[in-house]
């Protein structure tokens, strides 16, 4: 759905839902996932509908994902780090240590 302009830089590796994917150093988690063709960043707590980044500048909160186990992180404002663990956020954010099923 998106393709690079010019030649990409040497990639780093991150994990999305446990699967390794490549990212460009310095890019945001949102751009990394879009580059990899991912359109389902989260599902809504109300109807479970899939959502993907809408504004890319931190206003809409549609890009929420789990990063390193912490829920409701804005993918469009967070920069990738080598080895980062990213996961789809299903419904409401999970709170560490609090039961959720």
């Amino acid at each position: 759905m998106f393709q690079p302009i010019g030649s990409p830089k040497a990639p780093v590796t991150v994990h999305f839902d446990g699967v390794p994917i490549t990212a460009c150093p310095g890019e945001t988690v949102a751009s990394c996932l879009l580059r990899n063709g991912i359109t389902r960043f989260r599902t809504t707590p109300v109807s479970g509908a899939a959502r993907m980044p809408f504004c890319m500048i931190g206003h809409c909160f549609e890009c929420l994902v789990e990063i390193k186990g912490l829920g409701s992180q804005q993918a469009c404002l967070t920069v990738v780090v080598e080895g980062m663990n990213i996961a789809t956020q299903a419904g409401a954010a999970r709170v560490a240590g609090v039961g959720h099923d």
Partner: protein, 510 residues
């Protein structure tokens, strides 16, 4: 450096030490210009920026794209001269002594006494300055239509961000819909990047341009020539365009698959992978109204803007008693009044110079005449642009089944039925329906609800935005628990009053 410039003694704000003379929030053209002026006058400035590098949205990543050897010539050409104009602005800001630039920093609280709550990665705290320059820019007007929550529907600004920051361009069948200069600028940029949109569905009409001519001023001609250039390029490239779109729908399952466009007499269905929408931009008022500053509903533009003087000085709303004395907040750029980059830079300079003179207790007028003139010139095309590209999807009939609040998936019909039962205040609706209570804190629905209430219900006074309370952005508890500096207000006083009514300053007749 002047004596006043280095003074860290608070002026009438208790015994709390100041971290800087001025904190500037936002590093777009307005924030950078204000900070540069203040730094040049010898004052200590902390500039807080949500982005990783200065430039704001318009000049986003300008250093990365134009400044180093990795710059891609095709990209540089597509972004054009207007984008390159940001480069000297950023360079001056970077090189100016006295500015402590802090990127990747989110502001989650602003108070009229000059206190700012901030977060950067896993750290957070409070800062305090004698004055605050609020230059947090604008947002794209939320534009509800059936299917606008489907993955694959994005704003024009989002696609521009992907181009500038991530060097990504959309592929497949791309459709642009809506109105406003940004939509046509983006279409022109996409063409230069080799992406040929399948359709541009415009909500504006030729008649709008004719009506707008009455508002044409000679100073507006360069801006209009630029717009005409984009249109000509699109026509030459053979991009299919329809105008006067009355209804737009995105159809799909787990993502957009098809777009439906209706004009008065014709319905077009088109397969679509990415639907790019835009309906103009509106000031970001989250921090201003979270601080209890007065904001004003502008019916013609279906948005709120902060109440300020020409100098940018903001008015506290009626009954604001959070701080002793006059307002210490100055609002500039698109956060104050939509005017575009040149107007924002000029107004930022004006604010910086006015504030520098205020801090030195000097005369301001002669000083700021230059930027004031440039600002007036840069604002000259606005009346024409507003009339030529009237807001489209947001002012037509909003179907009952259309989602207005994206976070909680609340439709126009649900909001109408509660409003019919008497809940014609956004805060009542929020309490009853949870609209405005999701993660976006009402950013995506407030202006739509304001318009719906003001157009369809007999309100006694203009609609108010949701009452804002800090934190205006979610802050992880682990950060709140480990703030690096304590709340200065709690340190210096025992009373913690509630925030005043955000709209209080303007409806004093009620």
């Amino acid at each position: 450096m002047t004596e006043t410039g280095t003074s860290s003694s608070p002026t009438g704000a208790g015994a709390v030490a100041m971290d800087a003379d001025v904190i500037v929030i936002g590093a777009g053209p307005a924030g950078m210009s204000a900070a540069t002026e203040l730094g040049a006058a010898g004052f200590r400035v902390i500039a807080l920026d949500m982005n990783p590098s200065p430039g704001g949205q318009i000049y986003r990543a300008v250093e990365l794209n134009l400044g180093d050897q990795r710059a891609d010539p095709v990209l540089a050409r597509a972004l054009g001269r207007a984008y390159a104009a940001g480069w000297p602005l950023v360079a001056r800001f970077r090189n100016q002594e006295g500015i402590d630039y802090r990127p990747d920093t989110t502001v989650w609280e602003l108070r009229t006494d000059g206190t700012v709550g901030w977060q950067r990665a896993a750290r957070g705290g409070y800062l305090r300055a004698r004055h605050i320059v609020l230059a947090n820019g604008a947002m794209e007007r939320p534009m509800p239509f059936p299917g606008w929550t489907l993955p694959g529907v994005m704003t024009a600004g989002a696609v521009q961000t992907l181009i500038k920051s991530s060097r990504l361009k959309p592929t497949g069948r791309v459709v642009l819909a809506g109105t406003g200069p940004l939509l046509f600028l983006l279409a022109d940029q996409l063409l230069k990047l080799g992406v040929k949109p399948a359709l541009i569905a415009r909500t504006d009409r030729f008649g709008d341009k004719m009506k707008a001519l009455a508002r044409l001023r000679p100073a507006a001609l360069p801006a209009i020539a630029k717009g005409a250039g984009w249109m000509l390029n699109l026509r030459k490239a053979g991009i299919r365009t329809v105008t006067g779109v009355a209804r737009l729908e995105a159809v799909g399952d787990d993502r957009v698959r098809e777009v439906v466009v209706e004009t008065g007499d014709e319905t077009t269905r088109l397969p679509c992978d990415t639907l790019i929408v835009h309906d103009g931009i509106i000031p970001s008022i989250d921090l201003a109204q979270g601080a209890g500053l007065a904001v004003e509903w502008r019916a013609g533009d279906a948005s709120w803007c902060p109440v300020t003087e020409q100098s940018g000085l903001a008015s506290p709303s009626r009954g604001a008693n959070l701080s002793a004395g006059a307002s210490r907040i100055w609002i500039t750029g698109d956060a104050r009044q939509i005017g575009g980059a040149d107007a924002a830079a000029a107004h930022g300079r004006l604010v910086g110079q006015t504030l520098a003179a205020r801090l030195e207790a000097a005369e301001t007028e002669a000083l700021t005449a230059g930027p004031a003139r440039i600002y007036a010139r840069a604002m000259a095309p606005r009346a024409f642009i507003d009339a030529a590209f009237p807001q489209g999807q947001t002012s037509g009939d909003l179907a009952d089944s259309t989602i207005v609040c994206r976070c909680e998936e609340i439709t126009a019909g649900t909001i109408r039925s509660k409003a019919r039962q008497g809940a014609t205040d956004p805060d009542q609706l929020r309490g009853l329906l949870r609209c405005g209570m999701g993660p976006c804190q009402g950013r995506s629905c407030a202006s739509t609800i304001g318009r719906l209430l003001s157009e369809e219900f007999d309100l006694k006074r203009p609609p108010r935005p949701f009452r804002g309370r800090p934190p205006v952005r979610p802050v992880p508890l682990c950060i709140l628990a480990t703030l690096e500096s304590l709340d200065p207000e709690l340190v210096s006083s025992e009373a913690l009053n509630d925030k005043p009514d955000a709209s209080g300053g303007i409806d004093s007749d009620v």
